[in-house]
Subunit: 486 residues, 2 copies
């Protein structure tokens, strides 16, 4: 982040978006994985959640004032997705949190950075994994909230409930503060069904969306008051902003911070809290169960996707990919099928997918960490098979794209071209390998694969070696600015 | 089949086993496929059902008098399995039915063949897909039944029920004919639960096992009486036995025969029908549901197999392979997972798997026909990926085994060795390809792959071409006696 020169305030030029993108890939397993958490996924088959969030955010606040708070492991994937969807480079729009510590530290970290950029900064805090249908209503709520934020309110967007949902927290609103903004009387935990019905009937209750608007200075003042430990850590980082010690100071301070949500740590305790109600269609996509509100069901209330034979099913989520799934006689069930893992549970157990992921993490199972198909800026690869001493990949390179100039210490690679023509650099030699031709890359040899053609290049790579993990790569040059060197 | 020289009768030298192995791969989908019906599968992870059936049969009647009735598409796979499990060549022990026409035509066809071999032949008819735990009790029942068969009874083995099963037909027995054999009063369809309870309490009712013992001549006489159409067709074939027209006559007669079970066509109408009761532990493995009686359940009554995360499941069948399946909160459910297809349904829909297979057949879907891994006498291959113009296989060749000398008209093949050393013949050249080396087999080139080493040879084969099906093969020589020539 570079400090921006101060300009004279025009309307809303002090509005900044902070997108919190720290998910751990738990609740949407097996579609989400540790390396591809929910925000990197497309739920409805179009853009990914983070791409949609950024697009929506940038319709209100320009790209230059939009920041992503995320972990070091995910920044690269997010950057590549956003570069692809927006056509601009997001490299300077990241605030890296060394560890995920829930929302209070993430928001605090963003607040100190923004305050350095702009002492008058108003932050719009957006989770990265919401689905919102009405862009205009979203914008209206943000704008009304920003007005209250200027008056030092901590503003949260409240969603007008259209059914007695028991999966969300509620906000009980009080008197009108200004147009479109009310005071908050109380935050309420996820209610029981009868309580949710009562809220809906009574009116004045809103779903707590997790979208916040406040002055950076205002939220820091409240953190100072209610979370002194966090404030102290943030001040340690604050002193290093603008110096070369910033990364070191952040890395030192973060592990000592307590994991805490901004809701519990600040909002439930602060005085000047307001809610900007909105009738936008919103879902936090909190679990597989939520898909009922996001995708269009069939006549039997089933959500269906992929290579599916569906017979006599009812009110079930049948979310599949290319593999064949035959589901018959299911009621209120969830079936999620991916290339290497399948989840089957009743809808009322959707929250407990966490228990499955816990088992996977204990086993250090690859099905918890990564998908068989991995997307890269140049295209994608799919692991077709692994065995002792070998790994088989299908590699697809987009027209005009090229992989980094690289070498591997512990593996050699056979490439067979099955579609398109490859331009191959091997050592100092550059040559072409056509469909139905092959080439061999010995261990420790600098090489590069490029598709100069107009259609996708597909190659089958057979790796041989004692160690076949992705981290055995030395990059010497990369057009996508990924890390080079050992 | 070659006629055997007549020997002087000693005890039971006129006993022949006829194993009916015509399944269509429907009821155990996705584990069974059109090309690997149930009898070719191992349900409990040990020998396959046909291997177990033959082993059991041969403990009573020797191999030389054991015949398999099956279709032309399955004979080869069965022969290879039996050769492997018994160490003798079963080539001359097959009776081929051109089409599956239920049990009456299959048994009739076997009967005319056996009568030519031995006019006194007693047939022991065994389905190929039963699981039987007590070999001695099985043998005892056969021997007692054979005594009654010598007196021209049509004998069926009745299983003493140990619970009020509603999934089987029942036999109501009458008076004792001789030791261990009773007359049959009536055949009863699958009963309702309360009726089954009554049968169990009353005693004298037995499950109809589908195992029969009778003189070939006796059953043919009854077919003549009750199924004249079948008898006429059989006689057309009978006249051709011993001539070069046999195959032609069989192929001509079979399509005109009516599909009918021997139970309905003969047993329910014949007079001299007897039952030999047995207390052997028996299952006809009729559907996935039957696994409850075959495999050992866990403490929550789940049948579990394979790469599974199982949380809070109850009384469910969770039958998986190498892919990861996470099942949570299931009750009375069936989940069957294979490399390319998954089935999910409640137990009470197990019979309706047929409806899924019907959809697959209409779609001509590969998941109805074959598995991704196909076993061959020399080892196996697994299709890892197919795409336009290419197909990727992992090929495993057993030590000492070799593929046929072959060529392909419409594809070339790249081979990369990932384990072991290949001996390759390409045209007139013979050479070795070691681990991490590759070779290329152009279209129309005669080639052969052989593993002369002591450990399995694994190669990755990348096929390129416009047509990539298994039938693009011309075999010039094969050590496993598979068909050569165009």
């Amino acid at each position: 982040m570079k400090a921006k020169s101060k300009k004279k305030r025009n309307n809303l030029s002090n509005l900044y978006t902070v997108i919190i993108a720290g998910g751990s890939g738990t609740r949407f397993w097996p579609l989400s994985r540790e390396e591809t958490p929910k925000q990197l996924l497309s739920i409805d088959g179009k853009e990914t959640l983070i791409q949609a969030t950024v697009k929506r955010a940038c319709s209100t606040v320009p790209f230059e004032r939009t920041y992503i708070v995320t972990g070091p492991g995910q920044a690269e994937s997010i950057r590549l997705q956003l570069n692809a969807s927006t056509g601009v480079d997001w490299d300077n729009n990241f605030i890296i949190e060394p560890e995920a510590k829930n929302t209070a530290p993430a928001i605090g970290l963003a607040a100190i950075h923004l305050k350095h950029l702009d002492p008058d900064a108003i932050m719009v805090v957006l989770p990265s994994d919401h689905i919102i249908r009405n862009k205009n209503k979203f914008r209206d709520a943000i704008m009304l909230g920003a007005k209250a934020a200027e008056e030092n309110y901590l503003v949260t967007i409240g969603i007008k409930p259209d059914k007695p949902e028991t999966g969300y927290g509620y906000i009980k609103s009080g008197k009108m503060i200004r147009r479109g903004v009310r005071s908050v009387k109380e935050f309420r935990e996820k209610p029981a069904k009868d309580e949710a019905i009562r809220y809906l009937r009574a009116g004045g209750y809103f779903w707590n969306s997790g979208i916040f608007i406040w002055r950076a200075e205002a939220v820091l003042n409240e953190i100072k008051k209610h979370m002194p430990g966090l404030y102290k850590g943030l001040m340690d980082i604050d002193r290093a902003i603008g110096t070369k010690n910033l990364k070191k100071a952040t890395n030192a301070a973060f592990p000592r911070l307590k994991s805490e949500s901004i809701d519990y740590g600040v909002l439930e305790k602060a005085r000047k809290v307001a809610v900007a109600p909105s009738a936008m269609k919103w879902s936090d996509v909190g679990s597989w169960h939520a898909l009922d509100n996001v995708l269009r069901p069939d006549i039997d209330k089933n959500i269906k996707k992929g290579n599916l034979i569906s017979i006599d099913n009812e009110n079930s989520i049948l979310y599949c990919g290319n593999r064949l799934v035959a589901a018959m006689g299911l009621k209120d069930m969830i079936v999620v099928d991916t290339a290497d893992a399948t989840l089957i549970c009743p809808k009322n157990r959707a929250q407990d997918v966490r228990a499955v992921v816990d088992v996977l993490r204990r086993r250090k199972a690859k099905e918890g960490i990564t998908h068989t198909t991995v997307f890269r800026p140049w295209g994608s690869y799919t692991v077709l098979e692994t065995g002792p001493g070998f790994k088989i990949k299908k590699i697809e390179v987009k027209p005009g794209a090229k992989l980094s100039l690289q070498s591997h210490r512990r593996r050699s690679e056979h490439w067979v071209v099955v579609a398109g023509t490859a331009k191959v650099r091997k050592g100092e030699k550059v040559y072409r390998v056509k469909t139905n031709e092959s080439t061999y890359i010995p261990m420790r040899t600098r090489h590069r694969l490029e598709n100069t053609g107009k259609k996708p290049l597909k190659i089958i790579e057979v790796q041989n070696g004692a160690y076949l993990e992705e981290d055995d790569i030395i990059r010497f040059d990369d057009v996508y600015k990924r890390k080079t060197g050992k």
